[in-house]
Symmetry: C2
Subunit: 95 residues, 2 copies
DNA sequence: CTAACATTTGAATATCTGTTCAAATGTTTT
DNA sequence: AAAACATTTGAACAGATATTCAAATGTTAG
C-alpha cells in the first residue's frame, strides 16, 4: 500500500513525470534528458535516483554516459490509462 | 501534462489513496469512509474535495449523507496496472 | 598521471501540503 | 423554529520535498 502510494507520488511531480516520458520509449543519457527538457543534470540525476529506486526506470552504463529507460511495460500501461481518463468526454469540463 | 501529474499526485498520498480504494467499488458515505479508515470526517472531506475536483471520484447526495464513488473505469485500470508493476518478480527485491 | 567529460551526491533553502481544530453550512426530524 | 446529524470550510502548524549550488566520484582520452 505504501509502495503503491510511493509509485504514484513519484509520477506526481511534473518535472519527474517529464523525465519518465523522456526515456520511456528508448534509453536516453542523463545529459540528453537534461538538454531536451532544459534542466540541470544535477536535478535530473536527483529525480532519476528516486525513479530507479522505485523501479520505474532502470540504468545502464555505456562509457562515460548512463542511459535510463522504462523498467517494465506496466509503467506505460499506467500512463496510458491515465491519459484515457483525461480524454474522457465528461472529464476536463466542469459539471 | 500538468493535469496528468496532478492525477498521479493525488493518488500519491497514502491517506488519499486509501480513501479512493474505500469507495472505488461502491458508493460510500463520508462518515462511513472516516469510520472504516479511522480518520476524522474533516480530513476525509478535505481529501474528497481534491479527488472530486480531479474527477477521480464523484459525489451524490442522499438525505443528510453524501456518497462518493469512482468517477470512471480508468481509475481502477490505473490501480490495476500499478499493482501489476509491484507484483513483477524483478521488483520488490533489490538488484 | 593529468585533464576533460559525465554523473552523482550532500547540504541548504524556499515552497508546498497533509493534518488538526473550530466554526459554518446544509439537511432532516420533532 | 429549534435541535440533532452530516458534511464542508478556513486558518494555522508541522513536516515533507523540489530545486539550486558546490563539491565529489567515476570514466575515458592525451
Amino acid at each position: 500500500m505504501a509502495q503503491l502510494a510511493d509509485l504514484f507520488h513519484l509520477l506526481g511531480d511534473p518535472t519527474r513525470l517529464r523525465i519518465v516520458l523522456a526515456c520511456v520509449a528508448a534509453p536516453v543519457a542523463v545529459s540528453a534528458i537534461a538538454e531536451r527538457l532544459q534542466l540541470s543534470t544535477s536535478l535530473v540525476s536527483h529525480h532519476l535516483r528516486l525513479l530507479r529506486a522505485a523501479r520505474i526506470v532502470k540504468s545502464e552504463r555505456q562509457g562515460k554516459q548512463v542511459f535510463y529507460s522504462a523498467a517494465d511495460a506496466h509503467i506505460s500501461g499506467v500512463l496510458g490509462d491515465m491519459l484515457d481518463h483525461i480524454a474522457e468526454p465528461s472529464n476536463g469540463i466542469d459539471a
